[in-house]
């Protein structure tokens, strides 16, 4: 019963570390998907006094994916009744060219500023509107959210690692007598502590399986993905092969490293 309690304590602690890492990864993926969603909606408006070809724009910055001219026909159509044909033709000739520029990624506020400066270096470009105010607020909120989750994940991982270390110390006390007896008969360190390593590995595998199961349920029933879909974010929160392997590696890494630490600091009874 006591041994089962110890196992459960370690499994819960390992699961907490893995869950905090997985939540961070899921938030990162959600933000990346949101960035991609924003990117498809986001564009920079350029006002120029001469016509530009799409190729000319793409050579100005590697960030520019494509460009399209904004038609002035609708505006001129509206003015048809209010102006003479001659004036309208004159206006058509003097009206600047409007372009919508799409980027290949969602830019940071700095990247927008740099892009604006780059475009305005061309004398034919009169004005560049990056909508940086709106863009800044959304992006900064997103980054803040990501940072908060990251800090929480690190804090949880650190606190839980200490708990695991404490738990393993208890294991060491429980197994100290056996380890000392084995040492008296010349057992090498790996053989004396084999049982500790075995327990740590088994618990690491169990914690990973529980995490995979939990995220499978979340993914399968769309507990998080459906609400995200509703706001236009299509994201796979849990990648079964990569995430499961990474979680297993983290879990085994932590438990083996901590077991190794307590084995190394174990002093033989005289």
């Amino acid at each position: 019963m006591k041994s089962l309690k110890n196992h459960i304590s370690l499994i819960i602690a390992l699961f907490t570390v893995l869950a905090s890492v997985q939540i961070y990864v899921a938030v990162d993926r959600t933000i990346a998907a949101y960035e991609s969603h924003l990117k498809s909606d986001y564009s920079v408006i350029v006002v120029a006094n001469k016509a530009f070809t799409p190729k000319e724009f793409t050579t100005m910055s590697s960030m520019i994916e494509r460009s399209e001219p904004i038609s002035t026909a609708q505006v001129l159509e509206r003015l048809k009744g209010e102006m003479s044909e001659k004036n309208l033709a004159l206006l058509k000739l003097t009206l600047p060219k409007f372009y919508r520029i799409y980027l290949n990624r969602f830019p940071t506020p700095n990247e927008i500023n740099n892009l604006q400066k780059k475009l305005q270096r061309n004398t034919a470009i009169e004005r560049v509107e990056g909508f940086s105010q709106t863009h800044d607020t959304v992006y900064k909120l997103m980054l803040l959210f990501k940072d908060v989750v990251q800090v929480f994940s690190i804090a949880i991982a650190a606190v839980t690692s200490l708990l695991i270390l404490k738990e393993m110390r208890l294991w060491q006390f429980q197994h100290a007598e056996r380890m000392n007896i084995m040492a008296l008969f010349g057992a090498p360190v790996w053989l004396r502590s084999a049982v500790l390593f075995r327990l740590a590995i088994v618990d690491a595998i169990i914690a990973t399986l529980i995490l995979c199961f939990a995220f499978f349920i979340i993914d399968y029933y769309g507990i998080l993905t459906l609400p995200l879909k509703e706001i236009g974010i299509n994201v796979q929160l849990f990648n079964f092969v990569n995430d499961a392997l990474r979680s297993l590696a983290i879990s085994l890494g932590i438990s083996i490293a901590l077991t190794f630490t307590i084995v190394m600091f174990h002093s033989e009874e005289e």
Partner: protein
């Protein structure tokens, strides 16, 4: 005759200024049966501990089985211990293991296969009259039975040296006689060196023995 233990000006202590054994010089030959006696706290057990490397010499030299014990490395110490059988007053059996597995411990450590170690364990459990208890756990056995298990374990890997610390201290007459006859048998038949720390040398022992007595940190040979 080969010397299993050589001590030259050996001093032992747990703390720097508290010498337990002082500048002792003696040697124990291979195949000898040796008793070490002395009052409680005289340093008998400390001396025995130094033979299996649980305490390092403070001064002087100590060599066990040709291995120098001064600043011995862990791997060398493990190697040496695989050739020593130790019997403790408090048995030191692994409670979570069956009697059979406890006896098998030195064989597991030495890397023997299951068949070889299984046969050896059965033979030894027969010698200590505990074949019927093989599947039980140490807490299910009496003190005398547990010490017989510890004795079987000490003999399992045919050690060159057996160290026994008060092996019959708390035992009934029957268990004591089994232990002494096994120690005598190992010494006479297998030519194993036996060193026993005890308060009283048993009467009626059939083997010739050497007797060291410890008093005030000095080791004196009595006979």
């Amino acid at each position: 005759m080969d010397k299993v233990i050589i001590a030259e000006n050996l001093s032992l202590s747990y703390k720097e200024f508290e010498t337990i054994i002082s500048k002792a010089t003696f040697s124990i030959n291979s195949g000898e049966f040796v008793f070490i006696t002395g009052a409680s706290g005289s340093g008998k057990s400390t001396l025995l501990k130094s033979f299996y490397g649980a305490i390092e010499p403070r001064q002087g030299n100590l060599s066990v089985g040709g291995v120098k014990m001064n600043r011995i490395s862990t791997s060398k110490l493990n190697f040496l211990r695989r050739h020593i059988g130790i019997v403790f007053q408090d048995y030191k059996l692994i409670k979570e293991w069956t009697i059979e597995k406890n006896v098998m411990l030195p064989l597991i450590i030495s890397g023997y296969t299951g068949d070889v170690s299984g046969a050896q364990v059965q033979k030894l459990l027969g010698h200590v009259k505990l074949t019927h208890q093989a599947g039980k756990y140490p807490p299910e056995l009496s003190g005398g039975e547990q010490q017989r298990v510890a004795m079987a374990r000490a003999l399992a890997h045919n050690p060159i040296l057996i160290l026994a610390d008060e092996p019959t201290g708390n035992l009934d007459e029957y268990s004591s006689s089994v232990i002494w006859s096994l120690l005598e048998g190992a010494n006479t038949q297998l030519k194993t060196t036996v060193i026993v720390v005890t308060h009283h040398i048993p009467e009626g022992l059939k083997v010739p023995y050497k007797h060291y007595h410890i008093e005030f940190g000095n080791i004196n040979e009595i006979s």
